[in-house]
Every structure is written in structure tokens, then in C-alpha cells.
Amino acid sequence: MADLAARLAAFTQARIGLPRAGHALGTAATLAFDLAHAQARDAVHAAFDTGPLEAAFGAIVVHSAAPDRATYLQRPDLGRQLPAADAARLTKTGADTAIVVGDGLSATAVARHAVPLVTALRPLLGGVLAPIVAAHQARVALGDAIGAALGVDLLVMLIGERPGLSASDSLGAYITWQPRPGRHDSERNCVSNIRPPHGLDHETAAHRIAWLVHQARARRLTGIALKDESSADPRLPQAGHTIAP
């Protein structure tokens, strides 16, 4: 059994071929599961430290209408709304492109990947870039309200993805043409699983995002239409089961 189990386990990352204690999983496998779940939970509940983004890029910090994590998790509608006082601190400067960094469902992902990704991304985007915005308790669609306040045509939302047991630090990028409240998720393009060394590295992710941004400007749209035509391009991610934060 031990030989067979080991042979089977080599074919998949799934938790198979694990030693038993009676009919239960053995201690090592049980604690390994607990550790993975603990890391995922910590990522969901970690506070978003905007300090590095302020220091590196002079980021403007805003909060969604969700006052705390418990509310954020139960009221996704509030995580998409930008209070008037926060919107008032974002002004139209003539910029046409903006980058927003939101905590989403993993502040751990943002802490690990946001500064190096933004550093790699900024020189590739073209256009006139607005100040970087860092958003607390943010859902993807909060970017629509931020983009409207900044008056930009293109918005790149970098946001922590829902942690799985195998990955608690995965960052996603959502690109939206003419961001305005009321946009549907089908009107965005996504680059997900930004998570070196196991997922996309920062340089590759930056190039994929920039490719989509340039396509969006040329065709004046984002979403399904853009994704459909680009799906043959091996550089772009295929549609998967990612649930947008």
C-alpha cells in the first residue's frame, strides 16, 4: 500500500496516498492541512499596510464604505463603494490611466507583490499616469468609482485574490476600459495568479497587463470581446475558476 500510495501521489498535487491512523488521516497530514488553512486565514485577515506604497510612489490612501473586515466579508456591495470624502481627495489631473492597489481578500499578496509589480508595470503602460491609489477593504469594482473620480480611461486594479490552501499570496490584475460605477465583471480583463516563484513572476505579469492595456486603448474596450480574440495568444491566461474578490 505504501508503495502504491507513493506512486499515485506523484501524479497530482491533491492530498492522496496519505498515511492513516485508523480510518483518520495521520498527525503529519492533519497538521499540514491546519498550517495551510492558517496561512490562508491570516492572509484574509491581515491588515493592509499602505506604508511601502506611500514611500515608493507617494500613493494616495482611500477606504471603501466597508468599515472593517467582518463587514467587508458580509457586504460586498460596501466594498465596491467609495465614500464622498474619499472621492473628494481624488482629482482629475488630465491623466488617462490609473493603477489602484486594493487589499481584496489577501493583504499578504499585496504586501509581497504590489511594490515590485507596480515598479515593473509603470514604464510599460504608456499614456499619462495618475497618482497610485491604495485602497482599504476593496473589491474589484471599487476601481470603477476611483477611476471615475480620477477621470481616467483605463484602470488597472491590483488586488489580493481569495486564498486557497495551496496559495495564500496570489495577486490578480483587473483591467477596465472607461471605469464607471455599474461596470460588469464581463467588461474587464484579468491576469491572475501573480505569485512568484510558483505563479507568474512580476516582469511577465507586467508585460501581460501592459499588452492588455495597449489593446484596450487601441480598441476602446475591455472584457469578453478582447479576451475572446486574445485567447489564442499563449502569453495570456485562459479563463479559469478564479472568483473575483
Partner: protein, 457 residues
């Protein structure tokens, strides 16, 4: 029609029946998100007091979603069996609870076609968790394809060998692991990573080859959209079961890309294949509280009532398997272990009362306030309540769908502590292959299944 109840000088008013139903539901995040939950604990009980006094017949005339605009409402009303209803037509919601607790399983089964989804939703809102378990445990629903599922003293398992890239070797390895741990008698069912019909066809061929190579008395399923399954049937793929996610309103189902006519077409096409050996129950449905709100199609109706209506859709197609994916949709609908537990017991009980072969995907995501201890409690209570089947996911960790469910080991635990056995045909197969011993325990000398070619290199 407005409703009210007076409590110590306070008159609690409710604008209509759906408002009473929503306020009477135990607290859960999805009803708060929809803006229809009770505004105080006292108002919640006032709503239950209103509900308890309502005659059951009112649910046949005062519809929570209007008949004219919703084909699920029309299905519920048009298929209502007045003869079966006659035995309970004189009851109120409150006296129905008492009647269910006092009646035996045969009496409850006899009125199933007279119960509507809204009636069973209403009565479960005034039932404690204990009541939900006690009533469901009396009501066995038995279905057959190549195995017999739902018999008393039996617990079946859906073997769920998902893989993030649908890699055939990875899937086959997880299937073997599950079989060697006694899982797979409800179905071996893969959620494919992609939406591609050719890829689903390859997975069905893999499943059919494994099933025949080991002569396993079970059924296989690739859980793809019903339109894909229709294409697979046209291509001659070995389709045992037709799967579909369904909801409790016409608009929710439109969001899923289906309607009742399409389900009927798929049901007929799958039946025509005639692949079952013991029976011809060929449909597999999944539901989940929150799906209608998530689709913007809830009509101001609470999520438990809509879940029961989704079960009403399932009932029209004689399914082999139905399960609620109870904690999958996220904490904005069921926030924590307590809410997931309550919903699991509700969904199981309402499904059984409607006559469905209810299983449960006892599960959670990492942003819900829940962990494996919560799943252990739900699993144990679901077993006591007589759940037909649960999920068997390797190590409880689905590496494709990124959520946690129950494991092959969890199923072994539940069979152990409650003295439950697998489906009889599968139990005999486990013994014949040497996976289990005569006492039903995993054999001391492990079974030696010859590896399929794709794993034997």
C-alpha cells in the same frame, strides 16, 4: 395581503407572505445583504408566530414569486397533487411541524407530492435543528442507476477527483486513492477545469474505462453544463448521468443558461441511452442558498425559500442525486460555521420532505468563519439525519475549485461512528476486491488493484 402579530403592545407588521418568510428565517448574512432579514430578534419570532398560524393552503394562492412571470412558480402550482395534499390540507404551518414530528416515514412520504417548496420552507423555519434531523431521518429516499443509494443504514460518497488542468493521470490517481478508501458509490464525478466539450468527452472515456476495467458498480459524471452534455450525447460519449446547477426562480435559471424545457430535453436524451442496470434515475442536480441573490434574481424572497424552490425544480426530473453546495458560495450568504450548519440541515430536510435523494457538499471557503471542526459537526449531524451521500475529496482540499469539503477519511469516520455501510452493490465489490474485510473495515492486507496503463509506467 398584510400580516401582523401583537407582542406586549408592539404590533409587528409584515407587508406580504414573502416578507413574513424572510423575517422568520434564522439569521444569515445573505438575507441581510438582500435587505430582507428580520430587524430584531423579537420581530423574527413574531414572524414565526404569524407563520405558525397560517393554513398550508395559503401557499397555493399567495405566491412568493408571481405565477404569471415565473415558470418555476407555474411548475410548483401546476404539478401540485391535491389528492396527496388532502391528508394535510386542514393543517397550519405550526400543526404541520407537530404532525411531521409525530408521523412515521411512510406517512410523510405519502404527502410529498402535496407539499410545495414554500410549505416545506415555512415549516422548517419554525423547526429547531433537532427537529430538522429527526424528521429527515424518518424519510428515506432511495434511487438507483448501477448502485442503490439512500437505503437505511447506508452512506454513499461522491468521489470528487478534480484537477486544475484536468490531467488524466492526476485524476486517475485521485480516483484510485478514493476507491481504495471505500469512496465512489454515489458517483465518480469530476468538475472539469475548462468548458470544452472535447475535453469533457476525454474525461468521460477515462471514467468509463476505469469503471469497466475494475467492474465497479457505480456511475460516472463530468459536471459540465447541460448543453455540453447534450452535445456529448450526440457525439456518442459514455454519459451515465446528466448534471446541472439549478436555482429557484426562472431568472436564476436563465443566469445558469437553462430553463425547464432544456432540462426536460436533457433528461429525455440521457434516459434514452439506457445505461443504468438497476434503475433509470439519471439526473444529478446541485443547488445552494444564495445563488438567486448572486444572480440578482431573488424577487425579495429569502434564500432558504428559494433553495426549496430549486429543489422543487429538481423534483420534476426524478434525480439520482441532489446536493446543496452549502458553504461554497461564500460568507456574504452564509457567514460562519453556525450559519452553514443550519443551512445544511434545512436543505437536507426540505429536500427529503419534497422526496429528493439528498446529499450534501459540506464545505467552506477560506474567507468564511469556518474550519474542519465545523465540517466535522455538520458531517456528524448530517449522518444522524440520514444524508444519502457526501463528498469525498482527497484530503478535503479541492485543488481545482479551491475550497474545502469532506474527505474519503471523513466518510470512513462517519460510517464507523454511526455503523453505516456503503451502497450494497458497492459494499460487495469492496469485499470482492479485498479493499475491505468481511466486517467492512479497510483490509489489513491492502488490496492490489492493477494500475491502469496511464499510471503504470
Amino acid at each position: 395581503m398584510p400580516y401582523h402579530h401583537d407582542l406586549g403592545g408592539t404590533r409587528h407588521r409584515f407587508a406580504d407572505l414573502r416578507t413574513v418568510m424572510a423575517a422568520a428565517s434564522p439569521h444569515r448574512s445573505g438575507d441581510v445583504l438582500a435587505g430582507i432579514a428580520a430587524t430584531s430578534a423579537e420581530q423574527r419570532v413574531a414572524a414565526r408566530l404569524v407563520l405558525a398560524d397560517l393554513p398550508l393552503a395559503i401557499f397555493l394562492t399567495d405566491l412568493v414569486v408571481p405565477y404569471e412571470g415565473d415558470e418555476v412558480s407555474r411548475l410548483i402550482i401546476d404539478s401540485h397533487d391535491a389528492a396527496a395534499f388532502a391528508a394535510i390540507a386542514h393543517l397550519t404551518v405550526g400543526s404541520l411541524r407537530d404532525w411531521l414530528l409525530a408521523s412515521d416515514g411512510a406517512a410523510i412520504a405519502a404527502v410529498a407530492a402535496g407539499l410545495t417548496p414554500e410549505m416545506v420552507a415555512a415549516v422548517t423555519k419554525i423547526m429547531r435543528n433537532q427537529d430538522l434531523i429527526a424528521v429527515a431521518a424518518k424519510r428515506r429516499v432511495i434511487t438507483r442507476f448501477r448502485s442503490t443509494i439512500g437505503l437505511p443504514g447506508r452512506l454513499s460518497v461522491r468521489l470528487q477527483p478534480n484537477h486544475p488542468t484536468d490531467d488524466p493521470a492526476g485524476i486517475a490517481a485521485a480516483i484510485l486513492d478514493g476507491l481504495l478508501l471505500g469512496s465512489g458509490d454515489a458517483v465518480i464525478g469530476i468538475n472539469p477545469a475548462g468548458d470544452n466539450v472535447a475535453a469533457a468527452h476525454r474525461l468521460l472515456l477515462l471514467l468509463d474505462e476505469l469503471r469497466q476495467a475494475y467492474a465497479i458498480p457505480t456511475q460516472a459524471c463530468v459536471l459540465t453544463h447541460v448543453t455540453n452534455t447534450l452535445q456529448l450525447i450526440e457525439r456518442g460519449a459514455p454519459v451515465d448521468l446528466c448534471f446541472q446547477s439549478i436555482g429557484g426562480t426562472e431568472a436564476t435559471n436563465r443566469g445558469f443558461g437553462i430553463d425547464l424545457a432544456l432540462l426536460a430535453e436533457a433528461h429525455a436524451a440521457t434516459l434514452a441511452l439506457g445505461r443504468g442496470t438497476l434503475g433509470d434515475d439519471v439526473m444529478y442536480f446541485e443547488t445552494g442558498q444564495g445563488s438567486a441573490l448572486s444572480a440578482g434574481a431573488h424577487h425579495g424572497v429569502d434564500q432558504q425559500t428559494l433553495e426549496a424552490r430549486a429543489q422543487g425544480v429538481a423534483r420534476a426530473f426524478r434525480p439520482l442525486l441532489v446536493n446543496s453546495v452549502v458553504g461554497f458560495i461564500g460568507p456574504e450568504y452564509l457567514y460562519d460555521g453556525r450559519q452553514i450548519l443550519r443551512a445544511a440541515l434545512e436543505d437536507h430536510c426540505t429536500g427529503k420532505l419534497l422526496g429528493l435523494p439528498m446529499g450534501l457538499d459540506i464545505c467552506y471557503t477560506n474567507h468564511a468563519e469556518a474550519d474542519q471542526n465545523d465540517m466535522d459537526a455538520i458531517l456528524t449531524l448530517a449522518g444522524v439525519a440520514g444524508v444519502n451521500f457526501i463528498m469525498g475529496v482527497p484530503g478535503a482540499d479541492d485543488i481545482m475549485l479551491n475550497y474545502q469539503s469532506t474527505s474519503f477519511h471523513d466518510a470512513l469516520y462517519l460510517r464507523d461512528v454511526l455503523g453505516l455501510k456503503p451502497a450494497p452493490e458497492f459494499e460487495a465489490w469492496l469485499l470482492a476486491t479485498g479493499i475491505t474485510d468481511a466486517a467492512g473495515r479497510l483490509a489489513a492486507t491492502p488490496a492490489r488493484l492493477a494500475l491502469p496503463a496511464l499510471l503504470d509506467g
